[in-house]
């Protein structure tokens, strides 16, 4: 293979994907779109690497640390920016970035407090507000699509969190406020599984919520959320995914996933490269919201089309209101106005 025209003037970006590598239809594929877009628009050169390249019984964080160091020590080409995808890279990057202070890094969905690491996180409460609006609108109606169907005489929605922590609280707060915005008297049932890796508990909790009348359950619980989808399939209700378009990354559950609150990793990657090329790279934490495609609602690949246009419009209106600043989404569940306090559709 003839090596590319390695002009030293070209900007070289090293992509370091999360576990699973390319083809996951989730964070990694989105990040790949981001770098491809940068390749076309900004004419950067890039290189793809993922921890699966390292074989043997090495801990995941050790694999990341090695690859992060490899990029830093590479000389031909030398990388102007290394994009680390996923919060699992935050811990190794904290160590490696401290060692390699001359190498510029960015991390998506995690925070590393180093002058040479730009951290990109998301205003989860804003995206959650939109899917809350969607759930609130649907529970009012009689609606059936795929394997799910609403219970018309109940205006109840549910939320399953992984671990009760401020970060997950943002999801809950956004979701609840969104549901209230749709229906002032909606009942929002909330459960926490205590773990991000326990689908069994996720399923049990979601089943309870469905049995109490919830039409839609939104989760922010990682792998525990897969149990939520299973419960939705068993009970014949709906679920909302998170982070990536889960109707595509977990197509088994596409027949109950109404939509997903998608973190636009590609936007984060693209923006980090852009800032790097403009000499604006810094060690700050950048929170991406609905504005400029930082977050979006991705309707389900299978049943998303069945969502009535009026509801989609209502969701779009909420988005506009938030982007314009006319609606301020609370980040803490305790700050959400209680039921019946007159949530009004904007």
């Amino acid at each position: 293979v003839t090596p590319g025209t390695d002009d030293s003037e070209d900007t070289f970006v090293g992509m370091l994907y999360a576990r699973g590598g390319l083809g996951d239809k989730s964070f990694n594929d989105m990040a790949n779109r981001g770098i491809k877009r940068a390749r076309v628009d900004l004419d950067v050169e890039f290189d793809n690497r993922s921890p699966s390249a390292i074989e043997g019984d090495v801990p995941q964080s050790e694999k990341f640390a090695r690859l992060q160091r490899e990029y830093a020590t590479a000389a031909d080409p030398a990388y102007d920016l290394v994009c680390c995808i996923g919060y699992t890279q935050a811990e190794p990057l904290g160590t490696v970035a401290a060692e390699r202070t001359n190498q510029q890094y960015m991390i998506v969905d995690g925070v590393v407090d180093r002058p040479n690491v730009a951290s990109y996180v998301f205003k989860e409460h804003e995206g959650s507000h939109l899917v809350g609006r969607l759930a609130g609108e649907l529970t009012k109606r009689e609606f059936a699509a795929g394997a799910g169907r609403t219970v018309p005489d109940e205006t109840t929605v549910g939320f399953v969190g992984g671990v009760e922590a401020p970060l997950i609280g943002k999801f809950e707060a956004g979701y609840t406020s969104g549901a209230r915005a749709a229906t002032g008297d909606v009942e929002v049932l909330t459960e926490y599984a205590g773990s991000f890796g326990d689908p069994e508990t996720g399923k049990e909790l979601a089943a309870e919520l469905f049995d109490e009348g919830a039409d839609v359950v939104y989760h922010a619980a990682g792998a525990t959320g897969l149990g939520v989808f299973e419960a939705a399939q068993e009970r014949g209700r709906f679920a909302i995914g998170v982070d990536a378009d889960q109707s595509r990354s977990d197509p088994r559950y596409a027949n109950v996933i109404l939509a997903s609150m998608v973190k636009r990793v590609d936007t984060a990657v693209y923006r980090a490269i852009e800032r790097r090329m403009n000499g604006e790279h810094d060690g700050e934490t950048h929170a991406l919201g609905l504005e400029r495609d930082g977050l979006e609602v991705a309707y389900g690949a299978e049943i998303g089309d069945a969502v009535p246009a009026s509801i989609k419009r209502a969701v779009a209106d909420s988005r506009t209101a938030i982007v314009q600043g006319s609606v301020d989404v609370p980040e803490v569940p305790s700050l959400v106005a209680p039921a019946g306090a007159g949530g009004v559709s904007p």
Binding site: V1, R37, V40
Partner: protein
């Protein structure tokens, strides 16, 4: 070969060949060399051709295989692209294309890097699996930007466009950016086509890898490399050949400028796969094989010639030489040399001739010598015969003299015949020895007579000594018997002792048991004493407490005493007051009221008096109480003292009990030791008994043995008596022998009368009669033998 074959060969071969071995040899070798040369040259030509063809075919095959593989891949890509564009969903644009394309991509081969839907009228990308939807084609600068395909008719729609060389994708990572694009129009549209972008890396790799030493390139109609972008192929491989191959579709082989090329058309494209290899390298096998075949042939011919020459000089020349020398020997010259330093068969042949010649000479010499020797021997034998007859006569005379009793006659050993000389010497020696023997016998007979007498005397002494031995042994035997009895007594005593010791052991065990029980009881007693001591100590404490209490009571009583004194004083004072009051009352006796006052004063006085009496009574009682208390204190004190005394006694008893327990313990230990010693003693006694019994047995045996010895000694004594008798008889016979020997005349002894004895004279006539021969005189036997030997010599 059969006889017929041989005769045919004989008739066919020319006369000079049949006569000369050398000619035959030379002609045969030449024939073989010629044949080998012919076959070798033919083989060389054939091998060279075959190897060359193989190489060429192999190269063409490589090229064709590469072309086929590429063609297959292109065909599969065409089909995939075509089937993508044929999807109905792409005929109407509804914004859902991107998701559709992404779904398709996930089903297709992993080499497919992207799928794009292009709108030619808007000159933009309508949808893409990559984030380039809406991009203007100009900005992308890709070969598939403006492809002239149309889906208007179904025939046109079937066409699939291929980028005519690889290009650098604007979407790929920098280390895998070379891609090839396929485009296929969407049927029934005129401005829309689907582009499939695929990696070329794997194709390039497989083509590179495929053949050793050869390099395969794929060129398009302009002679540009297809799988690497913007690289001009070398001029040499372009032009006519490429065009011809593309048109005919057949693989071609061309060798030009030291390089061998094989061309193969890639079916379904305008491309040609060109496999090139350095000609020298390609035909290296052919050249090396040819060289080797040639070398083999030449080596074969040369070595045959050499072998022929050497064999000829080694065989034919010596054969001729041998033939000449044999002829010379045949003509009578036995001095001909057959020397050769060769050790092979020829050398052996020379050696054979040499030994044959030597053997011949030796035989002739031997015959001559044998004849001379035979004549000499004949003469010698005749002389010898005469001499022997003469000597025989002479010896006969001497023997007759000896036979007549003169043992001093001797033969003359001087003779030509060794045998005759030996006979004479042997005879003389025999006669000397005979003479000596007769003399010795005489002396011996004297010696025997003397010795026999001495033996008789000695054996008498031995007999008496033997008798003494018998007696002594008898005494020993008696002693042993006594000893035996004593041993038995000891054994019985020991048995008794053993029993007693065992009894002691038993008794001591009983005692030990008692002692340990005593120790236990002592311990119990000591504990009881301890308890008693504790009890006494507590009694003592109580007593002390009682004393303390009584003393406290005493103190209290004293205080009461003080109080009663105080009361008595108050009573006195009250009385005084009453008296004063009475005086005052008597002073004012005018009023009735005053009379009352006087009454009260009187009563007070009376009361004071009673009080005083009561106080006195208390005093008395207290006095009694004090006395009793004192008495109680004393008693308690004495009780306490007594208890203390008892406690000491009990302590002493306790320590005595301790000592008893201790002694009992020691007693127990001592007795245990005694018991063990007794057991050991019992065992030892058993051993002693066994030993004594053994000793008794031995002494029994000794006694028996002594009796046997005594018997033997007696037997010996009687034997000695017989010996004495025999010696006496022997002495007598020796005397008789001496008398008999006196009859012979010898050189050491002259008979008393000087004449030969009449017995000796009679020997001349023949052997002595049996009745006259003395049985003791064995020497006459020797005389007979000497005679016989003499007659033998005649």
């Amino acid at each position: 070969m059969t006889d017929d074959g041989r005769s045919i060969a004989r008739t066919l071969a020319p006369q000079f060949l049949r006569r000369s071995y050398r000619a035959k040899f030379v002609v045969s070798i030449m024939l073989v060399i010629f044949l080998i040369g012919a076959v070798g040259i033919g083989g060389y030509a054939m091998t060279k051709g075959t190897v060359e063809t193989n190489t060429q075919e192999q190269l063409e095959e490589t090229s064709a295989l590469q072309a086929d593989a590429l063609s297959e891949w292109i065909e599969s890509m065409r089909i995939q692209t075509r089937s993508l564009s044929a999807d109905d969903r792409l005929q109407t644009i509804d914004g859902d294309e991107e998701r559709h394309l992404q779904g398709e991509q996930s089903r297709l081969a992993t080499d497919i890097m992207g799928i794009h839907l292009v709108n030619t009228s808007a000159e933009t990308v309508t949808a893409s699996t990559d984030p380039i939807a809406g991009f203007s084609l100009d900005t992308l600068a890709v070969p598939w930007a403006n492809v002239s395909v149309s889906g208007a008719t179904s025939e046109q729609a079937d066409e699939v466009w291929i980028s005519d060389s690889a290009y650098e994708s604007p979407l790929q990572p920098h280390d895998e950016k070379y891609v090839t694009a396929f485009a296929s129009p969407v049927p029934r549209t005129d401005d829309r086509y689907v582009v499939v972008v695929t990696r070329v890396g794997p194709q390039l790799e497989s083509i590179k890898r495929s053949a050793t030493g050869s390099v395969t390139k794929v060129v398009n109609e302009r002679g540009e490399r297809v799988l690497l972008p913007a690289t001009e192929a070398r001029d040499r491989i372009t032009g006519e050949t490429v065009r011809a191959v593309r048109e005919s579709g057949e693989s071609t082989f061309v060798q030009r400028g030291g390089v061998a090329y094989a061309y193969a058309a890639v079916a379904g494209t305008d491309w040609v796969a060109v496999t090139a290899i350095d000609a020298e390298e390609a035909f290296a096998v052919r050249d090396s094989v040819s060289r080797q075949v040639m070398a083999i042939v030449l080596t074969g011919v040369l070595s045959l010639a050499l072998v022929g020459a050497v064999l000829a000089s080694q065989t034919i020349d010596p054969l001729i030489d041998l033939r000449n020398r044999a002829a010379e020997m045949e003509s009578g010259n036995l001095e001909v040399s057959f020397d050769s330093n060769r050790i092979d068969e020829i050398g052996q042949l020379y050696d054979g001739f040499e030994s044959m010649r030597t053997a011949l000479g030796e035989r002739i010499g031997e015959v001559r010598t044998a004849r001379k020797t035979a004549e000499r021997e004949h003469e010698r034998a005749r002389k010898m015969n005469e001499h022997l007859e003469e000597k025989a006569d002479e010896y006969s005379t001497v023997m007759q003299t000896c036979a007549s009793g003169d043992l001093t006659a001797r033969m003359d050993p001087e003779s030509h015949s060794e045998a005759m000389r030996e006979i004479a010497e042997e005879f003389n020696a025999m006669m000397a020895r005979f003479d000596e023997i007769v003399e010795n016998h005489r002396e011996f007979a004297d010696g025997v007579a003397a010795a026999s007498e001495e033996v008789t005397a000695s054996s008498e002494e031995v007999r008496s000594a033997s008798e003494q031995v018998t007696e002594s042994v008898q005494e020993i035997s008696d002693g042993a018997d006594q000893q035996n009895e004593r041993f038995r007594a000891v054994s019985a005593e020991m048995d008794d002792l053993s029993t007693r010791i065992q009894r002691i052991a038993g008794a001591s065990e009983d005692v030990a048991d008692l002692a340990s029980r005593t120790a236990a009881t002592g311990e119990t007693g000591r504990e009881a004493a301890g308890d008693a001591l504790d009890g006494m100590a507590s009694v003592e404490t109580r007593a002390a407490e009682a004393v303390d209490a009584i003393e406290a009571l005493q103190a209290e009583t004293e205080q009461i005493d003080e109080l009663s004194e105080f009361i008595a004083e108050i009573a006195n004072q009250t009385n005084m007051l009453a008296l004063n009051a009475n005086i005052e009352a008597s002073r004012n006796t005018a009023g009735v009221e005053d009379e009352g006052f006087s009454v009260v004063a009187g009563e007070v006085k009376e009361l004071a008096g009673e009080t005083k009496e009561a106080a006195e009574e208390i005093d008395e009682r207290l006095e009694r109480v004090r006395e009793r208390t004192d008495e109680a204190v004393r008693e308690v004190q004495s009780t306490s003292d007594e208890i203390a005394t008892h406690a000491e006694t009990v302590e002493r008893a306790a320590s005595s009990l301790d000592e008893i327990a201790d002694y009992a313990e020691r007693t127990n230990e001592g007795i245990q030791k005694i018991s063990e010693a007794a057991r050991a003693g019992s065992a030892s006694t058993g051993e002693v008994v066994a030993m004594v019994e053994e000793a008794a047995t031995i002494s029994d045996e000794t006694s028996a043995e002594a009796q046997t010895v005594a018997a033997a000694a007696e037997e010996q004594t009687s034997s000695l008596t017989q010996v004495t008798e025999s010696a006496t008889r022997l002495s007598h016979r020796a005397n008789q022998l001496h008398q008999a020997l006196d009859r012979f005349e010898t050189s050491g002894f002259e008979s008393a009368d000087g004449d030969p004895s009449p017995d000796a004279t009679r020997v001349e006539g023949g052997p002595a009669t049996s009745d006259e021969r003395s049985p003791e005189d064995e020497s006459t036997e020797s005389s007979d033998r000497g005679f016989n030997f003499g007659s033998n010599a005649k």
